[in-house]
């Protein structure tokens, strides 16, 4: 397996607290890999380190042979690894379409000065962004709310919009932070189908952090389980379900928590 993303011995300490301890795993191209674990296990910290928001104390993250850990988030995003956020982080007072258009920033060829004076390159860029934004909106089925202000949208749409913002940067690896949180069964199933389409139709590699076990089991190619900052298991959904350490981590509620 030639990995697109490698997490190598990543450790993060905050004073005496070790949030992540020597975590390593590889992600194959066009794989859907879930990181699971109880609350406070260090999943979000791990994600932040991959996306450049937090620098690992030791260890490194390698993307296509280049080290990306320690780079600022905008540089990591430029290289093709983009994170979407837990809950509903979007540009609230912009419309859906504006949200997606502004997220095309990485792809602008004209300089900011060019945009200021309205150079032909800048106008070309703007037209292209508009078209690409419409494509993404259609892809995610958000046509009906295209011109709605984001702060007026319900939860499910916000999550989709967060994904649209991520897609607009044209990433190769997308990190989804709890994409199914707070969703009912039907919404979750629609979102599962959508995440699959990200991979199947857009060729993305998807990393996700999630609590919803039935969804994780359904969607993932492989799963990494973390507890108390350490990786305790890695494998296919069926391997993870049978792993005694994972069952122990979700103590006493193996049937309910693991969802089978």
């Amino acid at each position: 397996m030639t990995a697109i993303l490698q997490v190598k011995g990543v450790t993060k300490r905050y004073g005496g607290l070790t949030a992540n301890n020597d975590i390593s795993f590889d992600v194959a191209p066009q794989e859907i890999l879930s990181v699971i674990g109880p609350n406070g296990a260090g999943k979000s910290t791990l994600f932040k380190q991959i996306a450049g928001f937090v620098t690992p104390t030791t260890g490194e993250v390698i993307y296509k042979g280049n080290r990306i850990s320690g780079l600022p988030p905008h540089k990591v995003a430029r290289m093709g690894v983009v994170r979407t956020f837990q809950e509903t982080t979007i540009f609230k007072s912009m419309t859906v379409r504006e949200n997606v258009i502004v997220s095309h920033h990485l792809r602008s060829k004209a300089s900011l000065l060019g945009f200021f004076f309205g150079s032909s390159q800048a106008r070309e860029d703007e037209a292209e962004f508009g078209k690409s934004a419409d494509d993404i909106i259609d892809f995610l089925g958000l046509q009906a709310i295209r011109n709605e202000t984001a702060s007026n949208l319900p939860q499910g749409h916000l999550r989709a919009l967060g994904m649209a913002i991520g897609l607009a940067t044209q990433p190769e690896v997308i990190l989804l932070d709890e994409p199914f949180a707070g969703m009912n069964h039907d919404e979750t199933m629609r979102m599962v189908a959508l995440v699959r389409r990200l991979r199947d139709e857009r060729g993305l590699t998807v990393l996700l952090v999630e609590h919803d076990m039935p969804a994780v089991m359904k969607i993932s190619d492989r799963i990494v389980c973390i507890n108390f900052g350490e990786k305790i298991a890695e494998g296919t959904p069926s391997e993870i379900q049978a792993n005694p350490r994972v069952i122990e981590a979700y103590l006493g509620s193996e049937d309910a928590a693991i969802g089978m």
Binding site: A51, F53, P72, P73, H74, A77, R78, V82, R83, T84, F85, T89, I90, F91, K92, S93, M94, T95, R97, E98, I101, V102, S103, H105, L106, S108, A110, L112, F115, F116, G118, A122, D125, E126, R146, N147, E148, T149, I165, G166, A168, T169
Partner: protein, 335 residues
């Protein structure tokens, strides 16, 4: 919401907007001078010139609001710009017209040095540091030998002639029969240019990125925006306007003291933006006009001036929290 341009103010230059801009220009450059000539209220020129130059500085403050930072330090840059212009004119004999951009550029450079560390702060913490800046600038002006301490720099000559290839573009102000009008026109032209630039910034990609920064810096970074660079850039442009305003002030008052711009002025710049409306490019201009003129007109109320003024401010913020210009949106039936 029926069309996609509505939520961004002034995205497209529609016919009504063009008419509005034309009406504004006519009012500034024709109606005001005509009105003053008819009524003989020459003192209005001084007030209106002040409004114009203060609104240039307020435009800068507005831009820092646009990236989500509360800036109460514009007085520092106005003071710095004023001193740069005054020192260059009196000690190095540089033409006033050249000192205008130089003062702005100097302030922009200084603000990059100051902004790099302090722009990492957010909300009230940034506001507190900027509040200190004005006082630091005042004390620096008191302490440095080049600024002549508390005595300030006085008897600064009027702006000289500006000519290109022997062609006089702006005559020497000292030879003019009516320098008040000339100052008014100069300040008004600079104000119009400033707001044109600001309008263009806000409606180009730069403005969209600033808006993304204002709403969520983390998300902005993860879509690939170099947030640190963009913040410093916006702050430098803001300070450029501050320095420019300071330099115009020097030309008009022909003097500058460490107390020419104090904390009160910095706070006022912020109030102008609040009152006009933070969501509207032309908000600070209107805010400056209303507050500065309002204060002047209220002087008939004698000892009740401050009471009425502050009461009106509180009432306005309660009734129109998004600024006076939000009235336009209400009338149009938008939300």
């Amino acid at each position: 919401m029926t069309d996609q341009t509505q939520s961004v103010p002034q995205t497209r230059l529609s016919a009504t907007r063009l008419a509005g801009v034309l009406a504004f220009l006519v009012a500034v450059f024709v109606l005001v001078p005509a009105f003053i000539a008819l009524t003989g209220r020459w003192d209005f020129y001084y007030t209106l010139t002040s409004v114009a130059l203060l609104s240039v500085a307020a435009a800068g403050v507005w831009l820092t609001f646009y990236i989500g930072r509360i800036n109460i330090g514009q007085g520092a840059y106005a003071l710095t710009g004023g001193y740069v212009s005054a020192i260059l004119i009196t000690q190095y004999g540089v033409s006033f017209w050249l000192t205008l951009p130089l003062a702005g550029i100097f302030c922009a450079l200084v603000s990059v040095g100051i902004g790099l560390p302090i722009l990492r702060l957010r909300g009230v913490y940034f506001a507190m540091v900027t509040l200190v800046l004005t006082e630091v600038a005042r004390l620096t002006a008191l302490a440095l030998p080049v600024t002549n301490g508390a005595k300030g720099i006085t008897s600064i000559p009027l702006p000289g002639e500006l000519s290109i290839l022997g062609l006089t573009i702006i005559p020497d102000f000292a030879t003019l029969a009516n320098p008040k009008l000339a100052f008014y026109l100069m300040a008004a032209v600079l104000m119009v240019v400033t707001y044109l630039v600001l309008w263009r910034i806000v409606n180009s990609r730069l403005g969209h990125l600033c808006r993304s920064l204002q709403q969520n810096e983390e998300l902005s970074a993860s879509i690939g925006v170099n947030t640190a660079m963009l913040r410093v850039l916006a702050y430098a442009i803001s300070s450029f306007f501050g320095g420019l305003a300071g330099a115009i002030f020097v030309a008009i008052s022909q003097s500058i003291y460490p107390s020419s711009f104090v904390v009160q002025d910095s706070v006022n710049f912020m109030l102008y933006c609040f009152l006009g409306g933070l969501g509207y490019v032309f908000g600070p201009m209107l805010g400056t006009l209303l507050l500065y003129f309002g204060w002047d007109l209220l002087s008939v109320a004698k000892q009740y001036q401050l009471l009425i003024y502050s009461g009106a401010l509180i009432a306005l913020m309660l009734v129109l929290p998004n600024g006076v210009l939000s009235l336009l949106d209400r009338k149009g039936g938008r939300k």
